[in-house]
């Protein structure tokens, strides 16, 4: 089994709902974002490049790509970053993580965040799902594909929340899954394929 995600770039309008719903659902500390929406265009989010009116502007929602050949796992000295055999998800064990940041260096997608010291929060109490991941000082963390929700047969929060209906979740190894069918039926791309990581997130063009 390899859980993965399909994101329809035609439907995605860069609204950031995946980002904020993830932030809430996972009780993310201040400054931490596991799910980001990046702009291909100008320097600042939501701005265009080119020469008016012939411009370019495209959004890419990016979180951990849960690669089949994860660069992070290869470099982790303690095994804190590992590939979960059952689900194919790339997981991160904060107990074993020593915060060396090798994984951050190795990951080509800039989706891992380091808790520099004790995490601070906007809220005085824990928010999000009651079983949201914990956040530990001096460790690295990232998107878990909402493993806590997936375990309960729910979809990852960003998929549940997507206002544009652009996100799909499922087993890439199952040819009958919605994600496999979408990949088969539409032109798609993975991010930075040349890195040899074989990401489990496919972007429909």
């Amino acid at each position: 089994m390899q859980y993965g995600m399909v994101i329809d770039l035609e439907r995605c309008m860069g609204c950031q709902t995946c980002a904020t719903s993830c932030k809430l659902a996972n009780n993310l500390p201040s400054g931490n974002w596991w799910n980001t929406v990046r702009t291909e265009g100008g320097k600042t989010i939501d701005t265009a490049s080119g020469e008016y009116p012939n411009c370019e502007l495209q959004h890419y929602p990016v979180a951990c790509q849960h690669c089949k050949e994860p660069a992070c796992v290869a470099v982790c000295p303690t095994g804190a970053t590992y590939k979960d055999e059952e689900t194919g998800l790339v997981m991160q064990d904060p107990e074993t993580c020593i915060g060396c940041k090798s994984c951050i260096e190795a990951c080509p997608y800039a989706v891992r965040v380091y808790n520099d010291g004790e995490p601070a929060y906007a809220m005085e109490f824990a928010v999000g799902f009651a079983d949201a991941p914990v956040h530990i000082a001096n460790t690295v963390e990232k998107c878990t594909m909402c493993a806590n929700l997936v375990k309960q047969d729910q979809q990852p929060m960003c998929v549940q929340a997507c206002v544009g209906y652009a996100r799909f979740f499922g087993d890439l190894d199952d040819p009958e899954s919605e994600v496999s069918k979408l990949i088969a039926s539409r032109e798609s791309t993975q991010l930075l394929v040349e890195q040899g990581t074989d990401p489990s997130v496919y972007y429909l063009k």
Partner: protein
């Protein structure tokens, strides 16, 4: 109508403990700053599951943000709202409701609710206005001091010495209870004037039905062959609807985006058409002229569904009626409007093929069909001039007209054109195009407007003032564009300046144009009371601030723009001493001496709003709402005015001609009724910086050559969400978006600080380069308050000047200059 699934989500049945596997280990944060206390997940991950008690309540977002009063579930743990999840409401046919997105802001509502900027207690000003010195007082003192002053002012100066002002913040049933007190006091209204042009033109055109206002309900968009996104950017200001655009596209629709700015909507469209600001009506006219030339006039539609054949008297612009010929009593039911057929004037409903062109004489009276008037107006323009004026090449206009006439065509508009003083010229042009080509009153053809073409649910009837008919009524209304004149002169249009104001669900100081005028008008009053959840700019300049309960802290009813009537249930107790509007108004009302009129409790009031024949007919009742929380009371089929829904215009037809049109407010302005009765185009009041097509640049352009607009961005709903840390992490500070070519010309680049100014004020702000901004324009996201800017305020730049027809806030009708701050 069918009830809905959330019946499983009543408080009683959903109070549960859920077993979760504990994840992770080790102690959490120490209590530094906002670090969170250690949770129950201290145990190692192999430990037994922990049990977490969680209650789930059906709730709703506020629904004034081009959202659909978006329903959601809020999850309560330890007496706090801890999570928000998306609603799962079903349409009557079992499909998922398309009106239940929770957007990026919706998930930030917990941060808003528990923000340090919440007003927790009644506060009284203890220093200069706006200085930030406050004294906490008791509710009893607040109520008695405020009402004593109101009584004193009303006794001395009359009922209109006190004014009430509301906006579009969290609009729910309980908010309307304020109207009850206002009516009993006979207090005047200060009306904010956002979107008035955009809304009223649609209603004037007849895009007003019993179930839907604004032509086609949004769900109908998916049936279009050609979708023209025109005057709106749904990827920022209507993101909860963008999935309908996607669906239309997937159904095969061609998507065309017409906008001065290259937005994300433009980037995603099949065709992007850049246009000169405030010239949309001319582009529509060009497309109409080409459509007529190429034989796409829908004569039958014009004859039967529009006012095209109605004979208009040259002398006064009014319709020729049987009474003009002495054949009926004026204003009687028999007094039919006449049309011309077979060489004579006949009652419109007696004709089968009436003339829609020409000019005639009927018993010595010179008349024309209304359509001829429209044609005459259109024919004042030639296509080359239109191309020059709009800056859209003629070939593109031809292409747009060809696409328009190639299938079912649909305009998805918004309030972009509305924000220029000549906004009516834009919309009336679009509607004329629809009328001429018959692209309306069909599934997939017509028009939707952001947060306007919305479901209007039967059964929810506001009873706040129902028993006051003939007993009490509010005083007169002063509209925002003339409010400051009233305050400066003390008297205007027969009204006297109010001495006190009660401002609720509204932050006019930031959100209305020309902020400096608002500050002066506040200063001219003896007492300003603001009720708000937060210390908004208006609250900061008030004398008293009353703390209002958050949405999740009160029982309420809402149907805002949603097919569901929703009972949103109080999930937690209000923060501090905050109270719901119902309780606040009841206390103020009793203290004003209206004890007999404030005997209801909240439940009785809410129940009375859904206890009526229309409610009973659709299965709506207070009891049913207690169980189901959300009840669909709307027709299943997407409503289209003129097809499934009646046209509620004076003539029962689509009106591109407005007989005897009067201004929205008669304040002694110059009024050219004949000109305003049918489409025309004139430049906006200020936003015309260049001389084009014989239309002279405005004088201000010499000093202020740049056009400044504010974008309704996804990170804010007006000034809401300025206190959400996670939204501020994504969008930390205001900036002005500048085209790189303009930046070069002004010697600035990304990150530089500029001063933008005109005679009204200035703002000092950072620069962001955006190639999508039309050269000559500057764009700042709407909603930032005073504290966000390096100096000054963007709302100081805009003007309160308005067009004679509509009382309107024209934020975009604004010229400025820009210079680099060294």
């Amino acid at each position: 109508m069918a009830g809905n699934e959330p019946s499983t989500l009543t408080r009683r049945t959903f109070l549960q403990t859920t077993a979760f596997a504990a994840a992770g280990a080790a102690s959490l944060a120490t209590l530094a700053g906002c670090s969170q206390p250690a949770s129950e997940s201290d145990a190692s991950k192999e430990d037994a599951p922990v049990e977490v008690a969680e209650e789930v309540y059906f709730q709703s977002c506020m629904g004034n943000c081009s959202g659909w009063g978006c329903p959601c579930y809020v999850h309560v743990r330890d007496g706090k709202i801890a999570n928000i999840t998306r609603a799962k409401l079903k349409c009557p046919d079992g499909s998922d409701s398309p009106y239940q997105e929770t957007c990026l802001k919706g998930y930030a509502n917990i941060e808003r609710m528990y923000s340090p900027t919440r007003v927790l207690y009644p506060m009284k000003r203890a220093g200069e206005r706006g200085a930030g010195d406050w004294e906490r007082i008791s509710w009893d003192d607040a109520v008695s001091e405020i009402t004593a002053k109101w009584k004193e002012l009303q006794e001395q100066y009359g009922p209109e010495a006190v004014a009430f002002m509301s906006g579009s913040g969290s609009g729910m049933a309980t908010i309307s209870y304020t109207g009850r007190l206002q009516a009993l006091m006979g207090a005047m209204t200060i009306a904010p004037c956002y979107d008035n042009t955009g809304m009223n033109v649609q209603m004037n055109h007849g895009g007003l039905g019993a179930y839907t206002i604004g032509h086609n309900e949004h769900r109908d968009m998916v049936n279009a062959n050609n979708l023209f996104i025109w005057g709106t950017n749904p990827t920022e200001s209507n993101i909860v609807d963008y999935h309908l655009v996607s669906q239309a596209k997937e159904n095969g629709a061609k998507v065309i985006c017409i906008d001065p700015i290259y937005t994300t909507s433009a980037a995603k469209a099949d065709i992007y058409v850049p246009i000169r600001p405030a010239t949309d009506g001319l582009l529509a006219a060009g497309m109409a002229l080409i459509s007529i030339r190429d034989g796409h006039e829908d004569v039958a539609h014009l004859q039967t569904m529009t006012v095209a054949p109605f004979l208009v008297k040259d002398s006064d612009g009014l319709y020729l009626r049987l009474s003009d010929l002495g054949q009926a009593e004026p204003l009687s039911e028999e007094d039919r409007i006449l049309v011309y057929e077979g060489g004579e004037a006949v009652a419109f409903d007696a004709a089968s093929n009436p003339e829609i062109r020409g000019s005639f004489e009927v018993e010595g009276v010179a008349v024309k069909p209304a359509y001829q008037i429209l044609l005459d107006r259109l024919n004042e323009w030639d296509l080359d001039t239109i191309a020059e004026m709009t800056d859209v090449p003629l070939g593109t206009i031809e292409e747009l007209a060809a696409i328009w006439n190639s299938g079912l065509s649909y305009i998805f508009t918004g309030f972009g054109p509305d924000h220029y003083a000549n906004g009516q010229c834009g919309y009336d042009g679009m509607f004329a195009l629809m009328d001429i080509t018959g692209q309306e009153a069909k599934h997939g053809a017509g028009c939707s407007c952001t947060d306007f073409s919305a479901p209007n649910t039967p059964g929810l009837v506001n009873t706040a003032t129902a028993d006051l008919v003939g007993v009490a009524a509010p005083g007169r209304t002063i509209h925002a564009p003339h409010f400051h004149q009233l305050m400066e002169d003390g008297e205007f249009a027969g009204m006297k300046a109010p001495k006190a104001a009660y401002i609720y669900i509204c932050n006019p100081i930031t959100n209305e144009p020309d902020r400096q005028k608002w500050l002066k008008s506040f200063d001219a009053m003896e007492m300003v009371v603001v009720s708000d959840m937060f210390m908004s700019e208006a609250a900061q300049y008030a004398d008293y601030v009353l703390p209002v309960a958050f949405l999740y802290e009160r029982d309420d009813l809402s149907s805002t723009s949603n097919p569901f009537v929703k009972y949103t249930q109080k999930a937690v107790e209000p923060a501090g001493e905050a109270k719901g509007d119902f309780e606040i108004i009841t206390a103020l009302g009793k203290a004003m001496g209206f004890e007999d009129y404030f005997t209801q409790d909240l439940t009785t009031f809410l129940a009375s709003c859904v206890t009526n024949d229309a409610a009973a007919a659709v299965g709506l009742s207070w009891e049913a709402l207690q169980e189901q929380h959300a009840i669909w009371t709307y027709p299943e089929e997407p409503q289209v005015v003129g097809l499934t829904d009646i046209i509620l215009s004076a003539t029962g037809r689509f009106e591109f001609y407005h007989e005897g049109i009067q201004p929205m407010a008669n304040v002694g302005q110059e009024w050219d009724m004949l000109k305003e009765s049918c489409w025309f185009w004139e430049p906006p009041i200020e936003a015309w910086p260049e001389t084009i097509g014989g239309f002279e640049a405005v004088d201000e352009a010499e000093k202020y050559p740049l056009l400044f607009i504010s974008e309704r961005c996804k990170f804010k709903t007006h000034t809401m969400f300025n206190n959400s840390p996670m939204i501020l992490e994504l969008d930390p500070e205001p900036y002005v978006k500048v085209n790189p070519k303009d930046a070069e010309a002004y010697g600035v680049t990304e990150g530089d600080v500029v001063r933008i100014e005109n005679d009204r004020g200035y703002v000092v702000i950072k620069v962001v380069l955006n190639a999508g901004v039309r050269p000559g324009m500057l764009v700042i996201d709407h909603g930032w308050e005073r504290d966000g800017y390096i100096d000054g305020h963007y709302s100081d730049l805009s003007t309160y000047e308005t067009w004679p027809r509509f009382e309107q806030d024209n934020w975009f009708d604004c010229l400025v200059q820009m210079e680099k701050v060294q």
